[in-house]
């Protein structure tokens, strides 16, 4: 393996320009795979409904809702994966960068915590808690899908 490490120094302007190029192409690549707002809204709505249904602990109707959404979503996720593959890209489930990992694991912990909190408050007597949990998860999921469709947060264009 040939590694070309050097101690070469480059002017700050060149470094700034190279970083701007990197950021621009990273962001435009991420933007290319961003869902349109309508699809983003639909997926977030279903995820919010799923969160709400799970938080309604032991209510038969909401158990059916959770089951139906799961059965509906599993094929959609598989189809989405094959669609991206057809476009010529295989996304990573867990990003390699530390910030991407923190974001992914942080999101998972947040969603689970919100669902369990909603369930706990519902059991304690707050009947509105599952709705709030569903709304919170739908909003956060929507923002994450918009700003980090490939698991890496997209900043403003050219920002280093």
């Amino acid at each position: 393996m040939e590694c070309k490490m050097t101690n070469q120094k480059i002017p700050p302007e060149e470094a700034r320009s190279a970083l701007a190029d990197v950021k621009e192409i990273e962001d435009s690549t991420t933007d290319k795979f961003k869902n349109p707002p309508s699809k983003n809204a639909a997926i977030s709505l279903f995820f919010g409904l799923f969160s709400c249904a799970v938080a309604f602990d032991g209510v038969a109707f909401w158990n059916y809702v959770a089951l139906i959404i799961t059965l509906f979503f599993a094929p959609l996720l598989i189809l989405g994966f094959f669609y991206l593959r057809k476009l010529g890209v295989k996304p990573k489930l867990i990003p390699h960068s530390l910030s991407g990992k923190i974001l992914s694991y942080g999101m998972m912990v947040f969603f689970v915590a919100v669902i369990f909190s909603g369930e706990a408050f519902y059991v304690a007597g707050c009947s509105w808690a599952p709705y709030l949990a569903g709304l919170a998860n739908a909003v956060v999921y929507s923002i994450c899908m918009w700003k980090a469709p490939l698991g890496e947060w997209v900043s403003e264009k050219g920002e280093v």
Partner: protein, 94 residues
Amino acid sequence: MSDSGFDALIHAPKRLQICAVLAPLKEVEFKLLRERLAVSDSVLSKQLKALEDAGYVILNKRTENGRQRTWVSLSREGRIAFSGHVKTLKEIIK
């Protein structure tokens, strides 16, 4: 300021862009990479060959649905070299 992460091979504009496209993804098809970079097949092949010789990218040719597709991914060494290079560039502009 440390220059240990500066990599002259990656610093070439097109190679830097190739690494930037590959970094957030598991694998990218050659055709899509060519479109993202707006370069010809021969230019992309030449740049990929240089990165492959350095052990920074992995090229996988697979036949899918009767059609041969070339998938490109960053190797572990490539990811380390790219992130080290970007880190060094950030240190230079501080």
